[in-house]
Assembly symmetry: C2
Homo-oligomer: 238 residues x 2
DNA sequence: GCTCTAATTATGCAAGCGTATAAATACACG
DNA sequence: CGTGTATTTATACGCTTGCATAATTAGAGC
């Protein structure tokens, strides 16, 4: 006993025929992939879409096309499209965090060098990138309407700021300055704003600034705010 | 001679009946409005939609509903929906600019007071508002994909920054400090970033900051960057 | 008051969206 | 080398969207 086939199958003439010999009605050939690989591919495809046409351009069909799968598969891995978008957002944020942390790892020991490296990493490639901004902006625009997103943003923001506050505290101490929580909190808010503001402009209109100008401007402004030098020993380690 | 009516008219039962006596088939009563008034109303309705549900929530039907008008009328005043959205964006940006300029007008004569007032205005109500951010973010997310929008942003950014640079220059001179273009440019970039970054956070999560904390933080950071005081005479004018 | 027209409504339409689900198939395991 | 099943495709559905256009009407000008 078999069920009704709703309509005779019409192969899409725009799709390239598979390399293998073609039966009269062909079907897209495929490979089964591990769950992790597929999720990563789908997220990567999503980011490509957002990069090219903004969040609105990230439709399930377009994403599937980029990932070289059919649209239905997305729902096999993500309950709803929003879950995929959310995963993509988290992936980008996580990637930026990791990239900044990497810069810290390869920095010198002096806390001032570390803060310097952290700021430069956030204000240079690949973190300061229009693609990152597009995704970020799309989400930020939803924060006001979606409480879950507001929470996600808050957590990310406070996490970043706390990391910054720790760096600032150590840099201040290394310079022989007091580092009371009341002051480091305010410093962290200000330094975070400097980094965010410059990152924003660099992503939006990087071409109107000289190479490295934003990073240098950021370092100088932060030095002024903290009243310390972030370049304690010129030509030190390397 | 009359043309074919495509389908018998079925009045929408959800719409309230007009106050006037009802014929068997009623039609929404309306008033003709001046072109300017209608455009303003439509823009205001658009901003309401964006405020409540983000840019995606600003559909022609929803906008028309808020403006108490039918959807078709939007096309009578705006060639395409994007034109309305663009007009709404420009309206918001313009409003913020005007509000900041107003703060300048009612400020004291000393350039440092003026810069102080300008910063405080940008980091307080009604400029630092989640609704403004939602519209802004929606547009910013499109900058990468749409060259026309990129240009609009650039103009707005540079205009704001130039105004800031002039204020900074005068404040420096008033404090007896040199104000070379090479330095004021960089100062303007940094101060702009501080304002943008703090504005962003205030819009996104204003509730995690104390009243006036962001404005004070911004003033302090800017004073540090410029190495001048923005409060030259405590309790001066008022 | 009458008339004319610009403003407004009512309605339709095609395209695209996210989602649901049955059919097909790759491939791990015996 | 079969067989079972998890993965993937194909297809449809219902809804919403922006846009188009014919019918209607408010209100100004005569």
């Amino acid at each position: 006993m078999h069920r009704l086939r709703r309509r005779p199958y019409l192969p899409d003439p725009t799709r390239l025929a598979p390399m293998t010999e073609s039966r009269s009605t062909t079907r897209k050939s495929f490979r089964r992939e591990g769950e992790d690989k597929r999720r990563e591919d789908l997220i990567a495809a999503t980011l490509e879409c957002v990069a090219e046409r903004g969040l609105a351009g990230a439709t399930v069909r377009e994403i599937a096309l980029r990932a070289d799968v059919t649209a239905g598969l997305i729902r096999y891995y993500f309950p709803a499209k929003d879950d995929l978008i959310g995963a993509a957002y988290r992936a980008v944020m996580n990637r930026m965090t990791v990239q900044a942390s990497d810069a810290l790892k390869s920095a010198a020991d002096d806390p001032r060098d570390r803060l310097n490296a952290f700021v430069k990493a956030n204000l240079g490639q690949p973190i300061m990138d229009p693609n990152n901004l597009s995704l970020w902006a799309g989400f930020i625009g939803m924060v006001h309407a979606d409480p879950a997103m507001a929470l996600a943003h808050r957590d990310g923001y406070l996490g970043f700021r706390d990391e910054l506050e720790a760096l600032i505290r150590e840099a201040l101490l290394a310079a022989g300055k007091p580092a009371e929580p009341i002051h480091t909190r305010r410093h962290a808010i200000a330094v975070n704003a400097i980094i965010d503001g410059l990152w924003l402009e660099g992503c939006l209109a990087g071409d109107i600034f000289a190479e490295g100008e934003l990073a240098e401007t950021g370092i100088a402004a932060i030095e002024a705010v903290l009243a310390i030098s972030l370049n304690p020993e010129k030509g030190g380690a390397i």
